[in-house]
């Protein structure tokens, strides 16, 4: 059974892309050891996966069985070592971090030398009966121990700081790193079980492709995603927010326009001429909400005191759900006020009730609620029915 190349190819490509992104960020912070550690980690992981493409070529070319696997494992250890250095720079003040980081790099060098010595002294069998598995290699004990220590530290730190981070993209990135570390620890556990199986004469080679490989690839993909999400996550979040704001702006427009035409003095911003998306849409949306609320207050003297009851009754008779009735009632009172003002009726001394409170105190809650009101204003049959009901002459010749 040969090692599948495509997943390694994809992961290597993504790791190199992430590395290029981090190296680009280094231009302005060349002396930042934390960023260098991240770059070293990504480069080592890329090396670890790249060696997997050329397993057969390296082994046959060198004449050393499982040399490519060993080089790949050393790459993974270097990535873990870089991860430990990264944590040192996060935890310790600059003065002591440099000394500790040097010690950690020395520890990594010692572990790599130990792996090399064990690989030469106790080389893995050329053919274990399950190609791609080199689980009889004694050096793997060092490999598993070294990487497990690093992943445990990363998980602990990631969990702690994902709860504290303010930036949502950093929180997400740290959680993805924790998930990657958990996958990595599971991968190492499986590797340890396979090692013990080999030692005790019960080979578990079937685990290699069915469990070990997916865990290894998932670990690399998740760690890469977690490390890069804080860099591109904010931009993606901004884009998603912008698209949502544009949509909300369009949805609120019919309601805002009707109120603006009734009371143009309440509009602050110059007209966008339909090219709202070229301006600060978030700010325009905020203004739209405030101007709708201003317009509602300005209309209060014109709204018939019975408008709310009439609209609610019509909504119930139409069988609308409660939420739709609430939105339609608010839309209908606005429409009734606009119609009364246009017809020169009012103002009255009995102002209409205040608008229904939104689902929360912030702008998002206002937008969510007013979007429903705007939809009802433009499309609910309750709205024209309420206006008609209030303007129809009653028996004594007056309107309701």
């Amino acid at each position: 059974m040969s090692t599948p190349v495509l997943p390694y190819l994809v992961i290597t490509g993504l790791l190199l892309f992430g590395l290029a992104q981090k190296l680009y960020g280094l231009r302005r912070r060349r002396d930042d050891p934390v960023r260098w550690a991240v770059c070293f980690c990504l480069a080592s992981l890329a090396m670890a996966t790249a060696f997997q493409w050329f397993t057969d070529a390296i082994d046959e070319g060198s004449g050393v069985p499982h040399l490519a696997d060993a080089l790949s494992d050393v790459g993974a250890m270097c990535a873990a070592g870089a991860g430990r250095v990264f944590l040192i720079h996060v935890y310790y003040p600059v003065s002591s971090a440099r000394v500790r980081a040097r010690r950690s790099y020395a520890g990594l060098a010692a572990a790599v030398v130990m792996v090399a010595v064990l690989f030469v002294a106790v080389p893995p069998e050329p053919d274990t009966g399950h190609a791609g598995a080199h689980v009889d290699a004694v050096y793997l004990y060092v490999y598993v121990w070294y990487i497990a220590i690093a992943l445990l530290s990363v998980s602990r730190l990631g969990l702690r700081y994902s709860r504290l981070a303010d930036r949502s993209s950093l929180r997400l990135g740290l959680r993805v790193i924790v998930a990657g570390s958990a996958c990595g620890l599971a991968f190492l556990a499986v590797k340890a079980v396979m090692l013990i199986g080999e030692e005790t004469g019960r080979p578990l080679g079937w685990l290699d492709q069915s469990v070990d490989l997916p865990l290894e690839l998932s670990t690399e993909a998740l760690l890469l995603a977690g490390v890069t999400i804080p860099a591109w996550g904010d931009r993606l979040g901004t884009l998603v927010r912008w698209v949502g704001d544009c949509r909300s702006y369009r949805l609120l427009h019919p309601l805002w326009l009707a109120l603006h035409e009734t009371n143009p003095g309440l509009s602050l911003m110059p007209r966008t001429g339909g090219r709202y998306w070229r301006r600060d849409v978030g700010f325009l949306l905020y203004r739209q909400v405030i101007e709708i609320r201003d317009g509602q207050l300005a209309l209060r003297p014109y709204v018939h005191p019975g408008a709310t009851e009439v609209a609610r009754d019509l909504g119930r008779r139409a069988g609308l759900p409660d939420e739709e009735i609430r939105a339609a009632v608010e839309a209908a009172t606005i429409a009734a006020g606009i119609a009364a003002k246009a017809q020169g009726r009012g103002p009255t001394d009995m102002p209409s009730p205040p608008p229904a409170p939104p689902l929360g105190p912030d702008l998002d809650a206002e937008i969510t609620w007013l979007t429903k009101v705007s939809r009802a204003f433009a499309g609910s049959p309750v709205v024209p029915a309420t206006v008609a009901s209030l303007t129809e002459p009653s028996g004594d010749g007056t309107t309701l």
């Binding site: 110059p270 509602q296 207050l297 209060r300 103002p347 102002p351 939104p358 105190p361 809650a365």
Partner: protein, 167 residues
């Protein structure tokens, strides 16, 4: 003054402001009152339908910001900030309050003690536009500062800063 120039002037004013973190409009008003050496009180009222929905009433001793009860919390916050923007910009003229409204709203306040009344109605004058624009900008910037920082331990904050810088 054109709108672009007004926007730039509001940006300059905004840059000089020290907004509380997390943002709270009541705390901000108290802070402005302390900075000016004149207590600033907020009063929520059922304002008459034909009266402005917010007022800045300045007396010899202190300032009052009056805002409408019958509207949503965000709108109330904006009305308060509009009046506060008048205070911050040092505006002196604007839509006043008629004698009848003044008597109904502030029966215990002698007209002689009121130095100035500015009301939030339409944005026809430059001062009203400036106050409205500055209020919008303050709340937009406050929106980013509204969430309280999760980290209170300075060491943890420092670790988090280095972590963020690295990745």
């Amino acid at each position: 003054m054109d709108f672009a120039a007004l926007t730039e002037r509001c940006r300059t004013t905004l840059r000089a402001l020290d907004l509380p973190r997390p943002f709270d409009v009541h705390a901000f008003c108290a802070q402005v009152g302390r900075d000016r050496g004149r207590p600033l009180s907020l009063l929520v009222m059922d304002l008459p339908p034909d009266a402005p929905c917010g007022l800045w009433v300045s007396t010899e001793q202190r300032d009052y910001i009056v805002y409408e009860r019958a509207t949503t919390p965000l709108h109330q916050e904006h009305i308060i900030l509009h009046e506060l923007a008048h205070v911050l910009c040092g505006h002196v003229e604007g839509a006043g309050l008629g004698d009848e409204h003044a008597r109904r709203l502030f029966p215990s306040l002698s007209p002689g003690t009121v130095r100035r009344v500015l009301g939030r109605g339409a944005y026809s004058s430059e001062e009203e536009q400036e106050a409205e624009l500055l209020a919008s900008m303050i709340l937009q910037r406050a929106g980013r500062a509204r969430r309280s920082p999760r980290v209170t331990d300075p060491d943890a904050a420092d670790h988090l800063r280095r972590l963020e810088s690295g990745i």
